[in-house]
């Protein structure tokens, strides 16, 4: 197996006494697509900034392409493409100019940068927008421009911090499609997200992060297998009865060895056969307003591991 391109061991970042990242370890292989899944404040961006060599770690070991960011920051950054959580495009320049100035930061010749800029604008589906003002772009277009900018140096590793947060479903799908292409071309991706569907779509492997520590690690399928059942039954009883009925179900189903989660708006029953559970519930005389049997997702894994929902 080739040496991993990112190695983090017991990575810690403290702000005063508060540990935003509290001993995280992971490895990312070349060509792999690796995710950090976690809720707000989990320490995802902080980890990304350390990997991106723009934030000095408090302790632990970190190697990017075999180099230490404390010593070889510029060298490491020359091999990275960075899509930060909030876009920092230059709004005083036009779309194409943003790529031109950024390409120069990597010491690339003007001609090469100009040629790549045109290719990347096509890749990002921004043809015809070359001379547009950045402010005039939609959220999804800005995000694609940021990704195009991150690719201007043909990076070995692409860091994506919540690439699709705040985008509408269609814009997200366009973006996923672009990222999928990059993955197919063998670009190593490190991405953070608090969307389980995004993690399931894009990540070969991921870690679930909460409060600066890793709760679990594996492929999406492995994590679901290890931490949840095959199916989940979701029933709603209306907000007035939810808690009360939920408690009753928790006793009844719990006695059968099934895990039950009572959320404010619905009750989740974990079972390998959701339909059978629904039959039992109706036989017991309960009338859910709605019911749904679905496959377990990373959301359920997260709920299991932390007792909280991913998106609050």
């Amino acid at each position: 197996m080739p040496a991993p391109v990112i190695v983090a061991r017991d990575l810690v970042k403290k702000y005063q006494d508060f540990a935003a990242v509290d001993g995280i370890s992971f490895e990312v292989a070349s060509g792999e697509s690796f995710g950090l899944l976690g809720p707000n404040g989990a320490g995802k961006s902080t980890t990304m900034r350390m990997v991106g060599a723009v934030s000095t770690r408090t302790s632990g070991e970190l190697g990017i392409l075999g180099l230490d960011p404390d010593v070889h920051g510029p060298e490491i950054r020359s091999q990275l493409g960075v899509v930060p959580q909030s876009d920092n495009l230059d709004t005083e320049l036009r779309v194409r100019e943003n790529l031109l100035v950024y390409g120069r930061y990597f010491g690339l010749p003007r001609k090469l940068v100009a040629q790549r800029a045109d290719e990347l604008l096509a890749f990002a589906q921004l043809e015809g927008k070359e001379k547009a003002r950045v402010d005039a772009l939609s959220g999804g277009m800005k995000r694609r421009l940021t990704i195009a900018r991150a690719l201007i140096n043909d990076p070995r590793i692409l860091l994506l911090d919540e690439p699709t947060t705040g985008l509408d479903p269609q814009a997200r799908h366009i973006l996923w499609d672009r990222l999928f292409r990059l993955k197919e071309q063998g670009t190593t991706l490190l991405l953070t997200t608090h969307y389980m569907d995004e993690a399931e779509q894009l990540c070969d492997r991921l870690v679930v992060v909460d409060k600066g520590t890793i709760m679990a690690e594996g492929s999406p399928a492995e994590l679901i297998r290890a931490h949840s059942t095959r199916e989940v039954l979701e029933v709603r009883f209306g907000s007035d009865h939810n808690a009360e009925v939920g408690a009753r179900l928790a006793r009844a189903q719990g006695a059968d060895g099934h895990r039950v989660e009572v959320l404010p708006d619905r009750v989740l029953i974990y079972s390998d056969n959701g339909e059978a559970e629904l039959v039992k519930i109706t036989e017991a005389g309960l009338r859910p307003v709605t019911s749904l049997v679905r496959r377990s997702s990373l959301e359920d894994v997260f709920l299991r591991l932390t007792g909280r929902s991913l998106v609050e």
């Binding site: 040496a3 391109v5 190695v7 061991r9 900034r49 991106g52 723009v54 934030s55 000095t56 070991e61 970190l62 190697g63 392409l65 075999g66 180099l67 230490d68 010593v71 070889h72 920051g73 510029p74 060298e75 490491i76 950054r77 020359s78 091999q79 990275l80 960075v82 930060p84 920092n88 495009l89 230059d90 709004t91 005083e92 320049l93 100019e97 031109l100 100035v101 950024y102 120069r104 930061y105 990597f106 010491g107 140096n153 070995r156």
Partner: protein, 281 residues
Amino acid sequence: MNVTTGQSTDAARAIAAGRRSRRWGAWYVTEHRLRMMRTYTGTVVIAGIGSPLLYLYALGVGLATIVDANMGPDAVDGVSYLVFVAPALLATAAITVASEEFTYPIMLGYKWNPTFTGAAASPIRPVQIVDGVVYSVIIRMLVNLVLFYALMVLFGAAPSPVGFLGIVASLLGGLAFGTVIMGYTSTLQEDTGQLAMVQRFIVLPMSLFSGTFFPLAVFPIYLQWIGWISPLWHATELARVFSYGYAEPIWLTLVHVAYLVALIVIGWAWSRRIAVRRLNS
């Protein structure tokens, strides 16, 4: 296993790729800044020609008529009022550029449109971002000052053949003030009116008490200290030495230079330090 062997081909490639930015990074930032300034080239040129024209005409011709009529052709300092005031206006032009370029654009880069954060994610180092900004302002300042000086010559306001050295003096003054202001602006997390205060309580008094329109000596001694600490006064006096051979002891001329250079060194280093701290959090 050591995580940072630095032995792989990946590492070797990174080290090769980082070389150019390590050396030239600041200039890439300058390129970026100049491209941004291009969006207001019109303003730069119009302000660069318009404001000296206005000042030279209003003060150098208008006010000078009264001053010279009352006090003779050797009105102030043994020269006409126009010749007296012109080098001061030149130095003031540098301060004006500095107060524009080292305030809001810095706030913009750190906060409002964080292009500094963007640059810091590339191989560019924080200190190079600061250097690049300074270089770009030097270039813009030179454009303004050369235009201004050309107009001074046209107005017959720069009698000495070495008067053009006033451009260098003004540049030093602009940078001395500007780099310190950049350091201060860099420390701001939020602009809750501080930048407007700089204009009102630093730039404006500085232009009134720096021997611009009349010699500092006309003020009572308890107001003259404003001039002594003012980079504008030092730059103005220096520009006058070059422009019409204003007589002052040589040690004082050296003090002007030393003071301005010291401020530049301090302001520049301060700005660099804050950039390192702010862009690596």
